[in-house]
Symmetry: C2
Subunit: 105 residues, 2 copies
């Protein structure tokens, strides 16, 4: 992430990825969903019951999380089980480490 990236309106892919990631997890309910999924996969009904949110609201947040590949799903009978995509979390962790290193010199 070179310095010209921040002056250009057209930001680099790396920078843009990080920005999208922050936006997606910077929403309380999505962060709560991720936190719940830490302990293992959950079907949608489990999620909205646990977090006391409406079914469709959870469904829409799940879609946002899935679009960014932070979670994935496994279908079993009528239920969809969502789970953390650990691989992508590792990718973002690496990106963030670089991000912070650049701020602490």
């Amino acid at each position: 992430m070179k310095n010209k990236d921040c002056t250009n309106k057209k930001i680099s892919l790396e920078f843009s990825d990080l920005s999208k990631f922050f936006k997606v997890i910077g929403e309380d309910n999505r962060l709560r969903i991720l936190c719940l999924l830490k302990n293992g996969e959950r079907c949608v009904c489990d999620i909205y019951e646990n977090l006391e949110l409406s079914q469709n609201l959870v469904s829409s947040h799940l879609r946002v999380l899935k679009d960014l590949k932070l979670i994935d799903l496994r279908q079993e009978k009528q239920k969809n089980y969502y789970f953390i995509n650990k691989k992508i979390f590792k990718k973002y962790n690496a990106l963030l480490t670089k991000f912070f290193q650049s701020y602490e010199q």
Copy 2:
């Protein structure tokens, strides 16, 4: 960050801090400002000229960043020089490390 934190509507201080942090840096122009400040302090006019943004827009984003203590300022004559608060970045880096560890087991 224990698991009950995500089921409770009233989230823990730690969790809430992280969420606020994500929200604040999950905005492109604010992230660009931080990126610009990485290379050292800048006065407001430097920032809005470099990023091609209006003066008052930059001023309002600076306030958000300052409220979260991500940046601080030094006043010299009529100019306000803003700079990264490295200490708080270290704090968030530590928080995030814990956050990611919990997702990668």
